[in-house]
Symmetry: C2
Subunit: 154 residues, 2 copies
């Protein structure tokens, strides 16, 4: 396993933990270009009352602002959970080079689980995919969050 992938995924996990502290589903994302961090973010769907505010979308919005361009060529997106349809669409549209993710999302994942959108030759951009980086840590963080939530809700 590439050492950088682990280093950057650890940072994405730190972001996911920030989401948990705010009682948001713990998912974190970061965007990296030439080994430099361009943006860090975590899921704030509940706080912002918008399902657009997935960690990946927020990381993309911030990176586009920082690089002053909608093209994120040469960028890698690290995210703790397999992205959904919306986020995969945004990843393709913004020309991200590589996606590195942690845990699989069997219910809504659109990279390998339900769809293979990042490798669809009919689209005008394809994305390299590295999966399973710190998979256990990402997955446990989510499982514990939902277990605690069920307990609290009786």
């Amino acid at each position: 396993m590439n050492y950088n992938h682990i280093k950057f995924m650890k940072l994405a996990l730190e972001e996911a933990k920030k989401a948990k502290e705010c009682d948001e589903v713990p998912i974190g994302a970061i965007i990296v270009k030439n080994n430099e961090i361009i943006s860090l973010s975590f899921n704030t769907v509940e706080k912002d009352k918008s399902i657009i505010m997935h960690a990946e979308i927020k990381a993309i919005l911030e990176a586009q602002k920082k690089l002053d361009s909608w093209r994120l060529e040469g960028c890698s997106l690290y995210v703790t959970l397999e992205p959904c349809l919306m986020c995969c669409g945004a990843i393709v549209l913004s020309r991200i080079k590589r996606l590195v993710y942690g845990a699989k999302d069997l219910k809504t994942g659109a990279v390998n689980s339900l769809y293979n959108t990042l490798n669809d030759k009919r689209l005008n951009h394809n994305v390299e995919v590295v999966q399973g980086v710190m998979e256990l840590e990402s997955s446990l963080l989510l499982k514990d969050f939902f277990k605690d939530k069920r307990k609290r809700n009786g």
Copy 2:
């Protein structure tokens, strides 16, 4: 054809024309609930330098703000062009009831053209679809825009 669908699609087309005036790809969207307009928007990808800023995403963001909830249950989204993967993902996540669209997008459409995401029984929400409302007008607006752009670019 339902008269309301035409009435609301005409408003979405007016939004698309505003995009054209700003030299943006002319696509417009509106969200309606109980016959009341909740949000109107048009594509501003170039101005905002972000591919997240599709007309549909902007309409959803505004509607979620206005209704103070990420759940857009009972809402209809009218958009002049068949939505892409990102926008279809956002439509499903926000629980929109009905999508009404104008022209097909054979290259990236994710409602009927490349994918059938809004009718995927594996997802936890499905969306009613009405297609082809003011299709010709929506399609001509786009064709003319790209023809003019090619001319200007020599």
